[in-house]
Symmetry: C2
Amino acid sequence: MALYGAIEAGGTKFVLAVGEDPAQPREVVRIPTSNNPSETLGEVIRYFTRQRGLAGLGVASFGPLDFKDGTITNTPKLAWQGFPLRDTLQKALGLAVALETDVNAAALGEARCGAGRGVEDLVYITVGTGIGGGVLSGGKLVHGRMHSEIGHLLVGRAPDEDEQFEGVCPFHGDCLEGLASGPAMEQRWGEPADGLPEGHLAWLLEAEYLGRACVNLACVLSPRMIVLGGGVMTQGHLLPLIRRRVSELANGYLPLPDIVAPGCEYPALSGALALAMEAAA
Amino acid sequence: MALYGAIEAGGTKFVLAVGEDPAQPREVVRIPTSNNPSETLGEVIRYFTRQRGLAGLGVASFGPLDFKDGTITNTPKLAWQGFPLRDTLQKALGLAVALETDVNAAALGEARCGAGRGVEDLVYITVGTGIGGGVLSGGKLVHGRMHSEIGHLLVGRAPDEDEQFEGVCPFHGDCLEGLASGPAMEQRWGEPADGLPEGHLAWLLEAEYLGRACVNLACVLSPRMIVLGGGVMTQGHLLPLIRRRVSELANGYLPLPDIVAPGCEYPALSGALALAMEAAA
């Protein structure tokens, strides 16, 4: 069996792995994301050069991405803006390199070997420092003009919301990310999400906004499954609140997706391995 | 060139056509939708039996649809619920029959020979008695578990909205259809949309809600084009208001789709002809 490489490229760390099978990324290594992209890529290239007989590489990256040029575009990490991520790896390693958003890769990983094994219509959402989402529709990852930006869905205000709270998104104020990301919860309640007890109003509001997002995704895509990951979702009591709210909001009209926790240990790395296999095929 | 048949099946009328080319449906005939499906289908079958050498048939139908069974499911038109629409036509005419939602067919029609010729990522929305939408993503019509139900997007309330107005959707109250369909405008303002003058607050609210829906579609699908059709959109002054509002709401963050009027005279019939050609191929 051939060996493939996978990178989850994040704004604070890069996670590297290899594997023969998307279900089993191994030799997982983390390196901090430097402000100097060449330095980070140097370490990445050293890691993969040490691997013998690599057949392809999948990169699951923070964005926004330009798939044509293989670059990251308007990131606040200015040194990475326009850096030729895909071509640098391709040249240095001499491999087919597939570039995808971290969340699209995670959606694919969950569909191939995670919670949605075999599902062809699946959305993966991460709720943490930011909110992002990847979409698999009819077995294909959705790109369109760019790629999904599910964190910026407009979901309106819950009746219980503090009218003074403007939301934390620098572009939109009270979009989904502005109201329901980790930093939004912290600013709204004066302490981090993981310090807020079960039963706190914060969690009902969180379920309201994420529930509205899930209903909107059901209206647009009619997915079979929505996988909710990320730091905020590690609060196990949140998922049942979201499921209940989605059911109330949809009110019997729509066939609803299963709303579940991730099944992969590393959804984006698993997806990146799957993409590496396709790129090399 | 082979000849194909097309049906736009609506709750009040069926529109029938034939054509060699999706861009040119011809011999367009309208028949009222009877409460007795067999009666309507009898007329449909007579029309297509008169056509010589038909190679395939495309049906663009009101929904919700079950694509597996080829039936309409929970329609308030009870006699049509579960009626074997696709199989009845297939047996009577001995043709390959492709069944699709009216709005998905319209999206395909606009992408093949309308406003979005050659575009692979396009959403078609109709704003009239109800609101519905069809989605073409990466050149494929989106189905998922069922199909899109864009009219039921949750878009929140505009600050200018009358708090007493609950919205007209029997399932959700103030979803997009509940706030922005023709009947919603009529109930909110006490007269039909086409009686409300340009400059009336009604149009600003309409642009607000449809603008929020367009931004949400851009967040999920990143389409290149959104085509807005239907009775309410025949008010020519509304489209520029929506474009402006979408641009304000997105605030430079997202690459926005072109937001345009339909280019086809009969978007759903053109899409149905395209589907008939694919089904017969």
